[in-house]
Structures are given as structure tokens and as C-alpha cells.
Subunit: 173 residues, 2 copies
Amino acid sequence: MTVSKTAAADAVKSSRAARKEPAEASAPDTALQLGELSELLGYSLKRAQLRIFEDFLRCVAPLQLTPAQFSVLLLLDRNPGRNQTEIANTLGILRPNFVAMLDGLESRDLCTRVRSTNDRRSHILMLTDKGRAVLARAKKLVATKHEARLNEVLGPANRAALLDMLSKLAREF
Amino acid sequence: MTVSKTAAADAVKSSRAARKEPAEASAPDTALQLGELSELLGYSLKRAQLRIFEDFLRCVAPLQLTPAQFSVLLLLDRNPGRNQTEIANTLGILRPNFVAMLDGLESRDLCTRVRSTNDRRSHILMLTDKGRAVLARAKKLVATKHEARLNEVLGPANRAALLDMLSKLAREF
DNA sequence: TATTGTTATACTCTATAACTATA
DNA sequence: TATAGTTATAGAGTATAACAATA
């Protein structure tokens, strides 16, 4: 320890003396200063991401879909005839971790694995009719509740600009 | 299952037929279509966040600090005399989970817990001299490597705009 | 009775090695 | 031999309940 007990006790008794702000009230329970943290992009990025995912879950709660599950359904709809490795790779999901996820979706009859006739090692993934129906309802909830709220808070132009920058970071950074 | 084996086999044999794009080459291994995924803000947000944290870890690797640990050191520096609950709450860390994190920082002599004389239940957190030194070096690495790279990719004006929007989302959403 | 720090615990995500069946 | 799907497993991160010391 490089901090002496004495210095520690001093700081405990009058922490105001160690701060830069002039001591105003003696109230010891004021809000903390974020300081340089508010300039750290990664910090706000993480906090924003948590909020957005939370809201997504709330908006799509009636369908019991996580953002990850929703992204799988979307991808299967757009890319029929693909196997597990292709879908998982595109979403940044590791193949071993994709197994349980697919088990969950398949057990709810949202998609199916079909052994490929060309290469009997691979499983072609397909949306079921129920999967397509759930996806359609989910898209509607996301558009009318989740993304609509984003537009309210940011405004359409800002929302688009934000999306562009985030996409660029995800791609090029 | 609502998808018959026959329909599945058809899709396997000629998945191009089920797609919207006109079939060009017979190459079965083209890049997948993200589709509506590229318009989902949360998707890009998550991917960008992962990239940014990855880069942060790389830039600060010589100091062996995670983004979360860095944020704790920053907060302790700005807010001396605070206890575990106050620091943890500000960062959105649950108190039970903050214990092991502090154990790690304290075992590396970056900060110390000091029993408060006012309220002997609470531990006042303080940076050690080594903690302050490491924080100073970390700030320099973050500024000159991590945030500098962000400025390169986005440009200073865009970087500022992005930070504003993310902060707003983290606050108001 | 309420709060601080703590332990125990569990659940989700993520990551790696190794197995099987096919190729 | 290489690849697809899988299993097992381990490590983070996150969440809740409950306990001891203190208020």
C-alpha cells in the first residue's frame, strides 16, 4: 500500500478538500462526477447498447424473442438454403454456441434443420410457416414500437446518421 | 413441423429459386444478405460496441486494463471519499459483482478499501500512487491510440456527434 | 428495522478442444 | 485430410437471496 492510513483517514473525514470543485454544501451524498468518462465513446456506446437491447426485449416481449433470435430469423428469411455455419458466421456467433440457440428456435417450431442432399454433413436451415408468421409480427413490433421510439428521441435524420456511423465502425474499425 | 420434407429438399436443391435476386452464377458460396438487419440500429450498435471494446483492450494491453477497470479508476480519481455502493451504482455495476472486481484492483495495488470512520459499515475507495500512475498512462494510451483512431475513421465532427447521440440514448431512452 | 459489504449461486454469453459423420 | 455439426467445458458478465456487522 502506498497510501498511508493517515492520508486515508483525512480523505474520509474531509473528502471535499481533495476535490477540485469548491465545497458548497456539506451534503455528502451528491451525484458523482463522471469526468473524462463522458468523453469516452466506448462508455456511452456500451450504456446505449444496453438501453436499446432492453427496449427491444420490452417491445418484442409478446413474441418472446431476443435480439439475437430475431436476427437469426431475419437472416433465414433473406437467405434460404444456407447451413448453420454460414448463418452463424454472418452473425458473429460461434458454431458450437449456435447449436443450443437453434435447438431453442426449432423446439418452438420457428425453424427446421434439413440434412442437405448435396453434402450430408451440413444442415440447411429453413423458416417454418410459424417462423415466418412470428417474424412478420416481430418486424411490425420492432418498426412501430422500438424503432419508432428511436425516431422520437433522436429525430429521423439523426437516427439515420447514427446508424451510418455505427455501421461504419462495425465494418471498418 | 410445417415444412414438408419435399419442400425442404426443393429448397436445398435450388435455393436460388426462393431468392429475390435473379440467379447469376451457380456459385453457392456468395456472401449472405443482411437485409433488414442493416437497418436495425441495435444490431450495428452491438457490433460497433464489440469492435470498440476490442480496440480498447488492444490499445491498453500493456497496462492490462479492461474498459470496466479503467472506468473504475477514472471514477475513483474524480470522486475521492466515496464508498463501494456509490461507485458501483454510478457505473451500473451490482454491488455483489463489484467485490471481486475491487479484489482484483486492490491485489494489484491500484486502489485500497479504507473503513470509513463516520460509518464503519462502508469502505471508502482510494487510488494508490501506483493506481494514479497507471491511470495516467492508461489515459495517454486511450487518447493517443484508441480515441485517435476513432477520430481517423469518423472525423472529429462526426465523432462528437456520435458521442452526443449515444449519451442522449444512454440518458433519455 | 435498514444499509454496507460480502458470500453463494445461477443463468447467460462467449471461447476452445475434441468427437462423429461425412467429404 | 478436411469440414459440418455437435458435445463438453471453462470463463466472463450479470442477477438475486441471504448473512454479518453496523447504523
